[in-house]
Symmetry: C2
């Protein structure tokens, strides 16, 4: 009885007309998240949180394969800690929320709600690490952090967000660099294999690196409007934090030495990324590996006498798939058409229709979310066909996003053309570059495009030619784009 | 080469001599947790956090079986929200930490770091719930909360702690009461089956109920020193929060009505509980279902030429058990004896010794942590015998704790004897009771014992006789004890 339902599937705005409005409508209508009464904070609703739980499970398993262990460090950080690493406090000070009262009293020292935990982890590493035998120390935590933001968008930029932050300590700079790159590769493979999002892995420029890092790497993805989204970062902190927090160890040669440390993080921002990469005009498309429901079953009958047999088959299929595929059965009173729209909008990868004819044929009808392709499947083939179809869809989403990125990536040696591309088209521009911070800031000022990343993959034999802006001999190729 | 190791297995104080010192030593030496530089906060180290991860996985699965979904609500709560429910703010105000500055500016309204989330969840329920079709709404979140504490103990009472808090909204008071009791039962079964901790499930007195609740239930466990630990609570909030936050729905009869709501929580405190219930003079004993490592393999050889064959068998066994049992192989340079002490102290349920004789016999030696019973097991029986042994140990820990509780539970009808028991013995006292708040406070004042719980299990046919304190006709039996 859809007329009595208060919620309904409205038309959503076209992506091409207003991408950010499309994004906000989809996030709200699909019940992924909601604004909180505290400015800039969000409430992650069950359907959005279930995506986060799947991300956590898959990414956490990848961390553990590299011997990382989880731990938990406190929410509050003394002001004096934040100030120990000069670049770090300069980078984060404007964004910090401060606790100044507790238990009915003014605090002697204000406490920061962690914007990130390098300082408090560094303090602990200094206590725990004595000898080279204690190294490497490989920790991660899943937690909330807070960065006071002026302009916020659900998932993409909120004052409080959820993430994981990994922190490691090593015997040598080389080993820290190796771990930094290893975790970048973990992020790349998670993004491409589990989130079906093609990414460019590379190094950040000096301007864009983490406050306190020696070197920052990131993975950058192209959203459906051609803008870039930084989707995971991995920092080689060198001995910066080790020196600020006195993280030393006794080496095998009897010398006391500073550790080299790393940190790396991925956040709920990634959920924003997958919405903007895979969604279409009908709403979300969630890649099967991260989808809360991989399949939604819609029972169909016209006459009441058909209902019993349909219900029976639905229940049988539900039981058959339990523990193998994440299934939702929509038994609500809405019409089948209403249900199709709703679950398409919410991005369930595969719809399964079960009606009287399916009862007769001992089969079900599968419909892919991405291209609406229909496929009748006999019951006794379902347990093998359905997982295979989900995997096909997972790959198709990746390939579609990759093709989109390729067709929206430009290459030019002329700065005038560069400016035209940024102003008139959407996407990435790959240019020859001489790593000049002033030039980078000038380009940002003139075009709003930023240097997203210096890709790990560079032309074989090195880069020939001149920097697109300064005309100096180029040292690398770099990707510029407007970004979230 | 143990002499070069800086950490070592010291003797720990006897439980009977100083239980709280024993507790603190074990928590620190086993590397479960550490004090943070912010007063009253803790760092949960990987070995402690792995227990929490196991607890989360098992408890979360129990929640989901009852159709609860996870979500995430914000860390910060406006002051005005906390003030809407009068009892609630009165209960929590003294413990709140306040954020007063953010992004470089003084905030117009101070923001509380959540001590619990009934208020912000209530605000959201009011937005999301329109009709009876939206009910019940069954949410849970795994998160951090903060309650400014004066005296703190790792896991048992810290200013910041981790927990889960469930929040549900219902159509009727009866349904809310049913859910409150259902979640109490989830906690009971988790505590007894997964944590091997026998608990008494029951109702809290008016004095001890949650600030804002109509009725609070809890599970109470007896620690190794006879004191009680409240280990999980479930609150029927009636329409208190619904009225404060205007959570109404349109019922099938066309009337707008207030929802009835519930909340329920279990925290990292539970880790303190399992330490204090199962530990012995050698340190921790972690019940197998929650143990980070269920088995530790200690390779043994005297002569270098024995080493290769032992290593080979160890690796074979490790591979054989992978994915079936959580195994740690201690390949460090420490002596076997050192390793035995260390892993006994850290509470690994079963030790597996593998030496040259085991290589010859194609077998391994299993040693139980609780009673040191040794058992040689042939390799081809290991995959079935080891899980069975772990389950035997799980049951034995429960039975031992139950026997301890039974032998330290007293029953008396004389208040003088009651006082003697509380002063001279350890444990619980079960008495006849007339539910009188003033009498309860007087007993607390005179003996430091508090009314822990009015057990769900009451004498058949009702309670006969007089209240132990007031002499009024008893209405129930109640458990008193000193408590954490």
């Amino acid at each position: 009885m859809p007329n009595e339902e208060e919620k309904f599937v409205e038309d959503i705005v076209d992506q091409d007309d207003n991408f950010s409005m499309w994004y906000n409508q989809v996030v709200r209508k699909a019940e992924l998240a909601d604004y909180a009464p505290v400015r800039g904070c969000m409430i992650i609703r069950p359907y959005g949180y279930a995506i986060w739980e799947n991300l956590q499970r898959l990414l956490d398993a990848r961390f553990k394969e590299t011997d990382v262990q989880n731990a938990y460090f406190p929410l509050l950080i003394p002001q004096s800690f934040l100030q120990k690493e000069a670049d770090h406090i300069e980078g984060f000070a404007p964004e910090v929320a401060w606790v100044t009262r507790g238990g009915g009293e003014e605090l002697e020292e204000p406490l920061a709600i962690r914007p990130t935990s390098e300082t408090i982890v560094g303090h602990s590493f200094a206590k725990w690490i004595q000898s080279y035998r204690d190294l490497p120390m490989l920790l991660n935590q899943w937690n909330n952090v807070m960065r006071w933001e002026k302009r916020t968008t659900l998932f993409l930029r909120t004052s409080e967000f959820l993430w994981q932050e990994g922190h490691t300590a090593h015997r040598t700079l080389d080993e820290a660099e190796e771990r930094t790159r290893m975790m970048l590769e973990v992020y790349r493979s998670f993004a491409e294999e589990d989130a079906a999002i093609p990414v460019i892995a590379g190094r950040k420029s000096e301007n864009e690196k983490f406050a306190g890092a020696q070197r920052t790497y990131s993975i950058e993805a192209m959203m459906g409007d051609g803008k870039a989204l930084q989707s995971g970062t991995s920092h080689n902190l060198g001995t910066n934090f080790a020196k600020s927090f006195d993280i030393q160890f006794l080496d095998a040669d009897g010398q006391r030495k500073y550790c080299a440390t790393t940190s790396w993080g991925m956040s709920t921002r990634m959920i924003g990324g997958l919405i903007m990469v895979h969604g279409d005009k009908s709403g979300l498309i969630i890649p099967p590996r991260l989808a809360p429901y991989q399949v939604v079953i819609v029972p169909i009958w016209r006459k009441e006498k058909e209902r019993e047999a349909v219900d029976e088959l639905v229940t049988r299929v539900e039981k058959m798939l339990k523990g193998k595929v994440r299934v939702k059965v929509d038994r609500s009173d809405n019409t089948p058409g209403w249900k199709y729209n709703e679950w398409e909008m919410r991005g369930v990868p595969v719809r399964m229709e079960i009606g009287p004819r399916d009862v007769q044929n001992n089969s079900v009808m599968l419909v892919r979310r991405d291209n609406r392709a229909k496929e009748p499947v006999a019951l006794d083939a379902l347990e093998t066909r359905l997982p295979a179809l989900l995997e096909e869809l997972q790959q198709a989403l990746y390939q579609r996003a990759l093709a989109f990125r390729e067709s929206n990536t430009y290459s030019t040696e002329s700065y005038d053309e560069f400016k035209r591309i940024i102003a008139e088209k959407r996407g990435f521009v790959r240019v020859k570059w001489a790593e000049d911070s002033a030039a980078e800031l000038a380009i940002k000022e003139e075009t709003k495009a930023t240097l997203r990343v210096i890709p790990l993959e560079q032309p074989e034999g090195g880069v020939q030619g001149k920097c697109i802006y300064t005309g100096k001999p180029a040292t690398c190729e770099a990707i510029f784009a407007r970004a979230y």
